[in-house]
């Protein structure tokens, strides 16, 4: 018979068919095929053969093993594997603890980062209606680049609510600084005016009182913190507080309700919540006008309505806004869902929600993955090498009838067992050490060992176990189970020392370590650079006092300036270090965002700003009316070659540049420096009186000023700023960043070191006989060191060559996005990383090398 049935069909039959039935089934099909070949067309016979094969594909014919005995056997074997796993952990305490500890550190880090990330991603999720709440932010064209602003026209919200039936409610948020008085105590506070719907729209937990308190104009809601601050042990509900606003309007309010402590994943925190109707009574200018920008506008869509239904109408509102305020033109309105607000708040100017830059989060996730990767490679390497001691066991198992699958299962079980221990240790480390440490390092956030959905954390841990277990356990199991029984027993299996794979693994591990270390050092260098950065002025011995209005200013100034310790004094409307408001400047067809300070003459001397060109402001009428001193950034952004005498329009007055000062930091160093202009100030509008004195006497002067203040304005808090302290928050944050980076570097080094140590100790162990023979033949200790070190130096060098540039490129991309004015990368991070790795290498190698050198040939070779 020349014709054969289709091979693939037969193969399929053999694959699925239970071996017990295979022969009879195959026989019958073949018999039928042969018969059909005689009286039918071969093609039809083949088709019928295929048909038969498929018809036999039935449950009863399919290969499966569900016999009771085999199940019991599996369980027994599994118990045996577990037992052996435990025994092996105890038998090799060193390698097991390196494995477990290394993995645990990485797992601890991964869990902490997960918790941290989860917290940021679940921000504001507790607001029940959050999916329907949107903040209406808007883009404003600033000199070609669009900035996203939180501030929106105060009339936008009501207009939208009136025009769109799809909107359920609207709430505006208006911040005002205020002075709160209770009895004889006065405090500076930030009050926030909101529409009464704010409370029903958001789901802030209410501790006591009437949640609808804001419906009554005379009632306010305060946070728990404020309740404790003002009313310590009393019941705050029903108590009175008086508020004095910046324009001296005085109002009394009754506490209507107290909010409970804010949930940990809350990004919007207000102390005093007042009904917005009061704000319109306060006689601030233009508050009922499209020109006025309120701090935030939220809308809540009706159930089932999408925000898309109102998007089309935005154009119309923008046109209205443009008509009334040509100085500050909204380019477009951009609704942001509440759940995403804190994630976007880093790019949202004046956001009411707090939230970090995503770069930090991404960097931490990448680093966690790196550390996990390193730990997995560690594990892989050590597992493979430590199995070299167990080759005979494997061979014997094979002889006794174990198939390869069973050996894979055995090693997987053992590896998973170790991973499981690592998970427990790692979770404990995270719970007791790392998470609380993060909490301390980042005081703005309450980081605790929890996730928004507790199930997530459990799932994450299980996933982590599976991931780590499979990644780190798969290779060793497959590799080890492959060995041939006979070569093992003959002792011919070459293993360990010449294993290219374990070298590649080690190289990869070093590569990750070097990348992490170089990256962290670059980041640390930037942070240190930022911390040491010149402020652009000299803050020592400078102290400023906030005054509310002309009268206070004059009185305080008279009390103070005659004090002999005061060298210089000046006044200004805003203070360097407390943020300076941004205004928009027309320059040709460009709009430029400029920070504006108004100051009196001695300002430059008192703050010791460094004049680069021209002169400071003087008493001359010209200087006072139209003179401007600008910073270098200002000059650069306008592209002036020779700035002195150049003019620009601001506030309908032509200003002439009379001087240029060096750039100085006026706010957090994380933000870049904007163009700044300093204009003359009429002393009657001063808000800060700044004095400069001998630093040694500043404390005494502070006391003196405080007493003077009590005479001048007993109803206002004494708000004094030491210029040297203004950036304390920034420095603390910067220091935390440096600490976190150093910790990561440390972990990376420890992991790399553990990996090397584990591998090396096995390697030396396996070569002790070789060393003995070499020693007998007269090898110097140096030669032995060279043999041990040689193979690792190359691995190290190659991984450094690849890792260092990659790490620095990656990190610089991040640095550029976070730091406004990054420092060029120096050679130091590379040198430090190399030295660090070399030092670890030497320390880890040294112990093992000593073992190799001190080997006593007589003892080791005696047995052969």
């Amino acid at each position: 018979m020349t014709h054969q049935p289709p091979k693939w069909a037969d193969r399929f039959l053999r694959w699925y068919c239970h071996p017990y039935f295979l022969e009879e089934i195959e026989g019958d099909i073949y018999e039928l095929f042969d018969r059909r070949m005689v009286d039918q067309h071969p093609k039809i016979a083949k088709l019928k053969f295929i048909w038969d094969v498929f018809r036999f594909f039935r449950w009863s014919n399919i290969k499966r093993s569900n016999s009771k005995y085999s199940k019991m056997n599996q369980l027994q074997l599994f118990r045996n594997y577990l037992k052996l796993g435990f025994r092996n952990i105890r038998k090799n305490p060193l390698s097991s603890s390196i494995n477990i500890f290394g993995l645990a550190i990485a797992i601890c880090f991964a869990i902490s980062i997960y918790i941290f990330t989860d917290m940021q991603l679940s921000m504001d999720r507790f607001h029940v209606n959050g999916d329907r709440i949107y903040q209406l932010t808007n883009y404003v064209d600033q000199d070609g680049s669009e900035e996203l602003w939180s501030d929106s026209p105060i009339l936008l919200g009501p207009a939208l609510l009136a025009d769109h039936p799809t909107i359920e409610s609207m709430a505006r948020v208006e911040y005002r600084s205020t002075i709160v008085k209770k009895g004889n105590e006065v405090f500076d506070e930030l009050a926030v005016f909101v529409d009464p719907s704010f409370i029903t729209m958001f789901s802030f937990p209410v501790l006591g009182g009437d949640p609808n308190a804001l419906e009554k104009k005379s009632q306010i809601i305060i946070s728990k913190d404020m309740a404790i601050k003002y009313f310590a042990n009393e019941d705050p509900v029903g108590q009175e507080l008086s508020f004095r606003f910046t324009n001296d309007e005085l109002r009394r309010f009754t506490v209507g309700a107290v909010l409970d402590e804010y949930p940990y994943n809350n990004s919007i925190r207000f102390g005093f919540i007042l009904p917005i109707s009061n704000f319109f009574d306060l006689n601030f200018p233009n508050t009922n006008d499209w020109t006025f920008l309120t701090d935030a506008t939220f809308v809540m869509m009706k159930e089932g309505e999408s925000v898309g239904s109102i998007m089309d109408s935005f154009e119309g509102y923008i046109a209205t806004q443009h008509a009334s305020n040509p100085e500050w033109k909204l380019a477009s309105i951009h609704p942001i869902n509440l759940y995403n607000l804190s994630k976007e708040s880093y790019q949202l100017v004046g956001s009411v929600s707090g939230g970090g830059h995503p770069a930090g989060r991404i960097a931490l996730i990448v680093i966690a993955l790196f550390l996990l990767g390193m730990a997995c490679f560690n594990f892989m390497n050590i597992s493979v090498v430590s199995a070299s001691k167990r080759l005979k066991e494997i061979a014997l198992r094979k002889v006794m009838g174990s198939v390869r699958k069973e050996i894979i299962k055995q090693f997987m079980t053992e590896n998973l067992l170790q991973c499981f221990f690592a998970l427990i240790v790692g979770s404990l480390l995270a719970y007791f050490l790392l998470v609380p440490w993060f909490d301390r390092m980042i005081p703005e956030m309450e980081i605790a060992f929890r996730t928004y959905d507790p199930l997530d954390l459990i799932l994450f841990m299980v996933g982590l176990l599976a991931f780590v277990g499979v990644i780190s356990g798969a290779y060793p199991s497959f590799y080890i189970s492959r060995f041939d029984t006979i070569t093992i027993f003959k002792g011919k299996e070459k293993f360990g020392s010449k294993n290219l794979f374990s070298k590649i693994m080690l190289g990869f591990q070093f590569f990750l370590a070097i990348m992490t270390i170089v990256g962290c050092f670059i980041m640390t260098e930037q942070s240190i650079y930022l911390g040491e950065k010149d402020w652009g002025y000299d803050p020592t011995g400078t102290m400023s006092i906030y005054v509310n209005g002309n009268e206070q200013y004059d009185l305080l100034k008279n009390e103070l300036i005659n004090h002999p310790a005061i060298a210089k004094h000046t006044s200004s409307d805003q203070l360097i270090g407390r943020g300076i408001s941004k205004i928009s400047l027309e320059w040709g067809d460009r709009q430029i965002g400029v920070r504006r300070i108004r100051a009196t003459n001695d300002y430059f001397d008192t703050f010791r700003l460094r004049l680069k060109e021209g002169r400071a402001l003087t008493d001359q009428a010209f200087d006072q009316q139209s003179g401007a001193v600008v910073n270098e950034r200002f000059v650069k952004s306008l592209g002036w070659e020779d700035p002195i005498g150049k003019t620009f329009m601001y506030d309908s007055i032509q200003r002439t540049v009379i001087g240029v000062v060096e750039d100085f930091h006026y706010y957090s160093f994380f933000n870049g420096i904007d163009p700044v202009m300093i204009l003359g100030l009429d002393e009657s509008q001063a808000h800060y009186l700044t004095i400069q004195a001998d630093p040694a006497q500043i404390e005494e002067l502070d006391q003196y000023a405080k007493e003077a203040w009590l005479k001048v304005a007993p109803n206002d808090p004494y708000d004094r700023v030491f210029q040297e302290d203004v950036f304390d928050d920034f420095y603390r944050e910067n220091q935390s960043n440096i600490s976190i980076l150093i910790l990561i570097t440390f972990i990376a080094v420890v992991l790399a070191c553990l990996g090397l140590y584990g591998l090396l100790s096995f390697n030396v162990q396996g070569k002790l006989k070789e060393f003995s023979v070499r020693k007998v033949l007269g090898a110097e200790p140096g030669a032995i060191v060279r043999i041990v070190g040689k193979q690792y130096i190359w691995v190290l060098l190659i991984s450094f060559m690849i890792g260092a540039p990659l790490g620095s490129i990656g990190m610089m991309n991040l640095v550029v996005s976070v730091f406004p004015d990054p420092k060029a990368v120096s050679a130091i991070p590379f040198i430090v990383a190399m030295l660090l790795i070399l030092a670890t290498l030497i320390i880890t190698v040294a112990g093992q090398v000593r073992k190799a050198i001190n080997v006593n040939p007589a003892e080791l070779l005696r047995s052969e």
Partner: protein, 111 residues
Amino acid sequence: MKGTHLGELEELVLLTVGSLFDEAYGVAVMDEVKATTGRDMNISAIHAVLRRLEEKGLLKSRMGGSTNERGGRRKRLFTLTKVGKLALDESISIRKSLYDRIPNITYQFSI
């Protein structure tokens, strides 16, 4: 009850196996069924029925010797067990007794 009930196809196959005596294997049974009743059945269906009957204890099987046909693959040869024979007897007798009552009934309806 599954254990004792004989289906129509099962009964047919059981009878065929009995009639083929020692030569009853898959293809032979299929051919015999085709020849006597004209029913075209797929070989896999025959196998399924044979196996079910064996599980019920009505048939027993052994592997035949290997021959040159079928590429040297052995046949599984089925024979009736005592229980199988009894089951056939019982089913025939039930049929017989039922059949015996037929004429009366047809008479009543024949007008």
